[in-house]
């Protein structure tokens, strides 16, 4: 073994970390090499110096600080953090959620109630309207439409709304021309009254009082409105005028056309929203009479929009008392198919399903006979003059 090899092992020799063979080889070399023995002694001295160093001591309070840092948070603090600290974040979210849900509930509730309320209403309103409506008067039919049924019209795009407003004077003018149908105006006025009240969320005490309004006066008022200037409405945009003029030469709409003419949003929800606009418009008309040119007399566009029919006053309404309402509904479908009728809508009323259908006038008598065969048929109202397409509302009750 060389001195170099031996010195490489000196540290391990001091630590007694050599195997027996290595140890004896190193010791054998050391026995013959004074220089390496001196080197070993100096290395031993160095190690002795190192091992003489007094161990370091952790500072006072070290254990407590470690334990404090390692200790889990006491449960009240954890609870506090879990419950209270996130509140600045949670609270606005929860509040917003509550508001959203509330708005949603009101929105859905009102939108679903509206059609049912219309049809479930006692026949005092619509029935009397039609009873007093003159025959074959489209104007009166239009006038007889409750404001609620017209409400969706206001939900259209702005342009459409203007178009409608432009078209509306046509009703009044035509009605004024045909003062032989004063009841129509009466009906219109009467019908708007409850509508306004409904909008203002008052109890429906308006309709009976409104019924007594003399119809000619109402129409005169409408005519007056047509003559007076309203700058806002005078600003009808070109589009509205174009549409109105285009409509000017179209013959008066049949009930079916009237329905289709509206071309409006069918969503009840939108109808509900638009009620306020319609009501506002009504009030605005009352306050601010407006000019209505003859060019705006045109009937409504004839584009098909069956959904709006749901909101137009029916020509015929009645109750069908049956033992099994589901069976009656099932029987209704083939019946309609046979008569060439169409079921437009179906609601769930307070007393049972409400079916709105359209049927050709010639098939109407047969429909009545068939309904009488299905159950106890009670005609609530029937327009004196039926259009070609008769709109019938059936309330199927027990």
């Amino acid at each position: 073994m060389t001195c170099h090899d031996a010195r490489e092992q000196l540290s391990a020799l001091i630590d007694d970390a050599l195997g027996a063979a290595e140890r004896s080889a190193v010791e054998e070399h050391l026995a013959t090499c004074a220089e390496c023995r001196r080197e070993l002694e100096r290395l031993r001295g160095t190690v002795a110096l190192l091992r003489a160093v007094e161990p370091a001591r952790a500072p006072a309070g070290f254990v407590d600080r470690v334990l404090e840092a390692a200790r889990p948070e006491p449960w009240p603090r954890r609870l506090f953090r879990a419950l209270l600290l996130p509140w600045p974040v949670k609270l606005p979210i929860e509040a917003a959620a509550i508001v959203l849900v509330a708005v949603g509930v009101v929105y859905v509730f009102r939108s679903t109630l509206e059609p049912a309320r219309f049809y479930d209403a006692p026949p005092s309103g619509t029935t009397m309207l039609s009873d007093t409506a003159p025959p074959s008067s489209d104007a009166s039919r239009e006038a007889a439409r409750p404001e609620a049924t017209r409400a969706p019209e206001a939900t259209r795009a702005k342009e459409t709304a203007r178009t409608l407003e432009g078209a509306r004077p046509q009703e009044a003018v035509r009605a004024r021309e045909a003062e032989r149908a004063p009841e129509a105006a009466k009906a219109k006025e009467r019908d708007r009254a409850p509508e306004k009240q409904a909008l203002e969320k008052k109890s429906p005490e308006g309709p009976p009082a409104a019924k007594t309004t003399p119809a000619p006066e109402a129409f005169k008022e409408a005519g007056q409105q047509s003559k007076d200037a309203d700058e806002r409405r005078a600003k009808l945009d070109d589009t509205a005028r174009d549409v109105a003029k285009r409509q000017a030469n179209v013959p008066p709409a049949t009930p079916g056309e009237t329905r289709s003419a509206s071309k409006l949003e069918e969503s009840p929800a939108r109808a509900e929203r638009s009620q306020e606009a319609a009501g506002a418009r009504t009030r605005s008309q009352a306050r601010e009479p407006e000019p209505r040119t003859d060019t705006l007399q045109a009937p409504r566009p004839a584009a098909p929009a069956p959904a709006i029919a749901s909101f137009a006053a029916p020509d015929v309404s009645g109750r069908l008392a049956v033992a099994d309402r589901d069976a009656a509904l099932q029987n209704l479908a083939p019946l309609l198919a046979r008569l060439g009728g169409v079921e437009d809508r179906r609601f769930v009323g307070d007393e049972g399903p409400i079916v709105e259908l359209t049927i050709p006038r010639e098939a109407y008598p047969e429909l009545l006979r068939d309904l009488a065969a299905l159950g106890r048929w009670q005609l609530v109202r029937e327009a004196p003059a039926l259009p070609e397409k008769v709109r019938v509302v059936l309330r199927i009750t027990r």
Partner: protein
């Protein structure tokens, strides 16, 4: 050990009490600053507290703690974030004077200062090995386990470290 694994706070307290000086000593000699050493030693125990469930028990608990401490110190040294200031002899506990004469005490003080300075001047790797072996008393095997080194690497690294120290402390080795 079972109590530690179950999260017994009393067992953890006993662990800290038992190993606080050793862990702190390694940190102090490796990092050079008492404040930094205390911070590092505290972190060692917190890591041990969090990881106690992972401790397999195939090594001594002390070796496991030294492994955590050495890794943490080496990471700090390598990160460059630590203060470069070495407190030198101030960082190391003075050897008590005992009943030595003033002359002996002066000589001893001078020797200790030289010793601590020599230790501080070692490379990090060599200093770690010599601290664990000659100051903390770990066996070669324990050092190899704590530092995750081969036994031969530990032996040669320790020898180099001692040889460095011997040259710097030559005048005290007569």
């Amino acid at each position: 050990m079972d109590r530690l694994r179950r999260g017994d706070p009393r067992a953890f307290e006993e662990l800290v009490i038992a190993y606080q000086h050793r862990v702190f000593g390694v940190a102090l000699r490796m990092l050079g600053s008492r404040a930094e050493a205390e911070e590092a030693a505290q972190e060692v125990f917190l890591r041990a507290h969090r990881a106690i469930a992972d401790f397999r028990g195939d090594a001594k608990l002390s070796t496991w703690l030294y492994a955590i401490a050495s890794r943490l110190c080496m990471n700090r040294l390598a990160s460059g974030e630590r203060r470069l200031l070495r407190e030198g002899e101030e960082t190391l506990a003075r050897i008590p004077s005992g009943h030595a004469s003033p002359a002996d005490e002066l000589e001893r003080s001078e020797r200790d200062a030289a010793l601590h300075r020599a230790i501080a001047e070692l490379s990090d790797e060599r200093r770690m090995v010599v601290v664990l072996r000659d100051l903390e008393g770990l066996s070669y095997e324990e050092i190899a386990s704590a530092l995750d080194l081969e036994l031969g690497t530990v032996r040669s690294r320790l020898h180099r470290a001692r040889m460095d120290l011997k040259e710097k402390l030559e005048r005290f080795l007569s």
